[in-house]
């Protein structure tokens, strides 16, 4: 028996789309080692469609699994669609995370948004869903150190 279900464990033990790209169209990094979790995502975009995504993550099981799951979800999506991806959906696709770990899925969600933001900035693109999204501000504000730990004993 595990603290995570089989799908999460599979994405944790065998993460999909691990790696970096030589020349990504967008890079998103979210989290901080001080917090114990950091996610980096590289994306390729062609004709407003995400054609590839690679991630690297430092963090707990749910952070890694949700990053892995998130990359599989956005590959092939239109950018606008990918921007609509919520951490709730990532959790659903993983068929649930322990209550205390739900927030870990935010990492992937945010890193993806940041990668698209990066792409949009350098390619002068505008996406409705990015309005008001300011990655430089939010890191401080919204990202709390989120991956739960085990009881002390």
């Amino acid at each position: 028996m595990n603290m995570y279900n089989d799908i999460v464990m599979d994405h944790f033990m065998n993460p999909r789309n691990v790696g970096e790209m030589k020349e990504p169209d967008g890079i998103g990094i979210y989290g901080s080692p001080t917090c114990g979790d950091l996610m980096q995502i590289h994306i390729k975009i062609e004709d407003d469609v995400i054609t590839d995504a690679k991630f690297k993550a430092y963090g707990c099981g749910s952070a890694i699994a949700s990053s892995s799951m998130a990359t599989t979800l956005i590959i092939g999506l239109k950018v606008e669609e990918a921007l609509k991806l919520t951490n709730g959906e990532i959790v659903d696709k993983l068929e649930g995370l322990p209550e205390a770990k739900i927030h870990c899925s935010v990492l992937a969600d945010m890193a993806i948004k940041k990668a698209i933001f990066d792409y949009a900035e350098s390619n002068d693109k505008h996406y409705d869903a990015l309005k008001g999204f300011d990655p430089y501000e939010m890191q401080e504000e919204e990202h709390v150190c989120i991956c739960g730990k085990d009881e002390e004993s």
Partner: protein, 383 residues
């Protein structure tokens, strides 16, 4: 690499020794009498409890009626603090690296108007006796400082600390839950007024602990009701667990020396091998005044829970170095207190070795840790 089940989390809890379970069995079967009953079935239970108390008292060098059974180390800690305080001074001195059973009790008391001084520890994880001396005030009611830490295993100079407290007429309690059975614990030599213990850390059953209360020290009761535990702690006695605790104490006393050697050998072997196998690893806390079975290591580029789960997948049980509470991610207060940087704290694993650990276990763990940290490093965006 063939999969192997290796339990290396003896500081979290220990399996029952076979002899302990054997000793308990009659009390789970035919000897079910309530120790408060005066017919023979009851007297038999009562007598068995008495013998258990004696066995535990021998292990810690106390009188047998200075031992009061509780349901856990946590309850013993709570009782010592609440019991010693009521009606007395408003100030308590403790260390920054206590177990939550102490720290959370004290934070509760802070909300009730008590004042608590948390002593720093140095990089090795040790309290400076001078700090204690300075911290004690006229209204100090209690000093509570643990004997051995549960995360990094460092052992405090309790005897010296007790002397300082007693010089100022202040009661001294020490949480010896991790110390018992792993290093000599002699309450008289140490001079403590109260000391907490827990059976499930010494190959005894869960759900039973004890508070040593030195003869002559009066503290308030914690659980009121029947006259159990000499009228100090009510509730029908957990007879089988008490018997198990007694047996575990007896065994611990008989094999303390061998146990220490065994753990020390394997622990040092583990430390050396890990250091050689995993480049980016760092031992936390002093290697000198330390529990023989404890090794606390931080790995760069790999997060603790991730390491733990991958090791678990490979059959290995260890724990992270992070603090209590499954919904917050406050990094270990102990590692913070000894100055480990936060980023490193997140990559910390506590290995704790016990009497059933073998050299093959250690070899397997080293190989597994090597593999796992390599995998996680490849996955990591950190460089």
């Amino acid at each position: 690499m063939e999969k192997r089940n290796v339990y290396m989390d003896y500081s979290a809890t220990t399996p029952l020794k076979g002899e302990v379970l054997d000793a308990m069995m009659p009390y789970l079967k035919e000897n079910y009498g309530n120790p408060s009953s005066i017919y023979s079935k009851g007297i038999e239970s009562k007598e068995a409890i008495k013998q258990s108390r004696t066995k535990i008292s021998r292990l810690i060098g106390s009188k047998s009626d200075e031992i009061y059974f509780t349901s856990s180390g946590s309850e013993a800690d709570n009782w010592a603090i609440f019991g010693a305080l009521k009606g007395n001074g408003k100030h308590i001195v403790t260390s920054k690296i206590e177990h939550p059973a102490i720290l959370n009790t004290l934070s509760y008391l802070e909300t009730k108007g008590y004042d608590v001084t948390y002593l720093d520890v140095n990089e090795s994880g040790l309290v400076n006796p001078d700090d204690l001396e300075k911290a004690i005030r006229d209204d100090t009611a209690l000093v509570t400082i643990m004997m051995a830490n549960n995360e990094i295993g460092t052992i405090q100079p309790i005897q010296k600390l007790v002397k300082l407290a007693h010089d100022k007429n202040v009661l001294f309690h020490s949480d010896a839950v991790q110390a018992l059975g792993n290093i000599p614990v002699d309450v008289n030599k140490l001079g403590v007024d109260m000391m907490s213990f827990s059976a499930h850390k010494i190959y005894g059953p869960k759900g039973i602990g004890a508070l040593y209360i030195k003869e002559g020290i009066e503290i308030e009761n914690f659980v009121y009701g029947g006259g159990q535990e000499n009228g100090k702690r009510a509730g029908t006695e957990n007879v089988p667990a008490i018997i198990g605790f007694g047996k575990a104490a007896e065994l611990a006393m008989n094999c303390l020396k061998e146990h220490v050697c065994h753990c020390l050998d394997l622990r040092n072997y583990l430390a050396d091998e890990l250091y050689a196998a995993v480049f980016d690893s760092h031992v936390n806390g002093t290697m000198l005044d330390r529990l023989p079975g404890n090794l606390n290591v931080s790995f760069d580029y790999a997060e603790g829970e991730a390491i733990l789960l991958m090791l678990d997948y490979m059959g290995i049980s260890v724990s992270t170095g992070s603090a209590c509470g499954s919904s917050d991610s406050v990094p270990s207060h102990v590692l913070t207190a000894i100055g480990v940087p936060e980023s490193r704290i997140h990559g910390t694993i506590r290995f704790s070795i016990g009497c059933f650990t073998t050299k093959d276990d250690v070899d397997y763990v080293v190989k597994a840790v090597k593999e796992v940290t390599k995998k996680l490093k490849e996955l990591s965006p950190l460089k």
